[in-house]
């Protein structure tokens, strides 16, 4: 029970950090603008490829637009919260918050999990809002109706997929956090690298089968890829509920594995950092 209260307290810390400086509406708006823009960049590239390239037939374009809208938005969602534990550690060292966490009874994993969940909740709202705006803007700019399946069932199943993906994102967060404990510089760089890698390997913008072996195999086993596939399976007309559950199960298994690895790595890093006395080493 006390772990739960620590997590809830950390969720409040996360929200306060993200929105405490302004009113919630402005805070959410500012956080929504960036994913809209990055999604629009991807769909505009597709549009230019469709108009000037040779590979996309007119009938395929609306479906591909839906494919990329969902992929790019969910990629932005994953990037927005999977690196929050790293940020919480790096920023916490600067602001002396992180050493304080260690003198509290529950130590850091509940704190980082809470920060990650806070970011997940706000990112879910901003991602859904940015998907809606990006759909409207794409229809307006490119003059096509995007074939999305928006029913209570598809939205509920999409919501379940979002929740299942927390496992993988939190696992990645703890893995990066294990590095951030020791980092004295460039701790901001690793998450951006991983984020960039995910853009290529998570099937956000194109099928991973386009990548040469063994890169396509790497993309195929990532839980993030399965999460995006599951979401597409319920939100696009060509998908099916059976394929949704197949991808969701893979995402769950992959996410649970990544979370277990992340927690083990973080625990090892934390113990080692305590022994070496670097937990409160300020980043320079």
């Amino acid at each position: 029970m006390s772990y739960l209260s620590s997590i809830i307290a950390s969720i409040r810390v996360g929200w306060s950090r993200d929105f405490g400086w302004t009113n919630p509406f402005l805070g959410f708006s500012l956080k929504t603008i960036a994913p809209i823009a990055s999604t629009m960049t991807a769909v505009t590239v597709l549009y230019i490829g469709f108009r000037n390239g040779t590979s996309i037939a007119s009938g395929q374009f609306p479906m591909l637009l839906g494919f990329i809208l969902i992929g790019a938005t969910l990629y932005a969602h994953i990037s927005a919260y999977s690196w929050v534990p790293t940020l919480a550690i790096a920023e916490g060292k600067w602001t002396f918050v992180f050493p304080q966490v260690y003198v509290s009874p529950k130590s850091s994993p509940p704190y980082l999990a809470g920060r990650c969940l806070a970011a997940f909740a706000s990112s879910t709202v901003t991602s859904v809002a940015s998907l809606a705006v990006a759909i409207a803007l794409s229809s307006l700019l490119f003059g096509v109706a995007i074939p999305l399946v928006i029913t209570p069932l598809s939205i509920s199943l999409f919501g379940v997929a979002l929740v299942v993906n927390i496992l993988a994102s939190m696992g990645l967060g703890f893995l990066l956090g294990a590095y951030a404990i020791f980092a004295s510089k460039f701790e901001w760089a690793l998450p951006t690298y991983v984020s960039g890698l995910l853009m290529v390997f998570s099937e956000a913008l194109f099928p991973v089968s386009l990548l040469p072996h063994p890169f396509s195999d790497i993309g195929n086993v990532l839980p993030f890829t399965e999460f995006i596939r599951a979401s597409r399976a319920v939100l696009l007309p060509l998908g099916s509920v059976s394929s949704y559950f197949y991808y969701l199960a893979l995402s769950f298994v992959g996410g649970s594995t990544l979370l277990a690895i992340g927690l083990l790595a973080f625990r090892y890093a934390e113990r080692r950092a305590r022994r070496l006395g670097v937990l409160d080493r300020k980043v320079v």
Binding site: T22, I36, L46, G49, L141, T192, F206
Partner: protein, 273 residues
Amino acid sequence: MNPRASLWLKTVYARTWVRTKSIYGEPIWVAVNVGFPFFTSLALSLLYSSAGLKAGIGFAFLGGVMVSFWGNVLWSMASQFNWDKQQGLFELYVTSPAPISAILIGMSLGGILGTAPSAMTLAIIGWLLFAPPATPLWPLVALTFALTLASLYAMGMALSSLYLVYGREADSVNEALHEPVSFLSGVYFPSSLAFPAALQAVVLIIPLAVGMDALQRTLFSLNSTGATDLTPVYRDLLLLAIMGITLLFAASKALKILEEKGRRAGTIAVRQK
């Protein structure tokens, strides 16, 4: 030499040196800075490629190169004085005889020199991996590139004076500005092929948009003949020159006003949390 001019030049040199040294003294920064623009360019290149538009790959990598500079303008120019203020460095700037405008110019030159290796690395990797078809008009490319950077960094200077009055908001504003400005500027695609004419006209107030348009026109051609209409390029160059001068003037004016106001109110070095 006039002592004021000498002091100004020495300050520019000192600030340039510090910033350049911070990058070249730690070469891993090059690899660090290449990361995100590289993967974005790679992903968008594969998207262009899957659409059967190999010519588009050049736009994706040119975008990655320019995003490196745009990121540097936002995070290492616009936010810099704010961070310096939080760390107590800004107090030293204002109490020293060093002119603030010289510090800003030094920061810009150092930023350009520091970002150049990672931008060049990205361009070389893109070239080696994909060899995108290009029809460069090198003298115009060089002039456009120089004017684009000049006006971008002048914008960074103007923003740095504005951000000085902000606290934690500065980072959130930066995060909110980075992607939308990149999208509206057509960093990864030619906006003339995607945006309606009205939107194309509106985005011409963004130096990055004007620079990207000119760079894309002088480096790549989407038509089969490879011929480039230079009229829009000359228009862009003129716009960039005007923007650069105006923003430089605005930056210097805004800094003076804020400095004066801060000194009077006693808030110039007050750290905001």
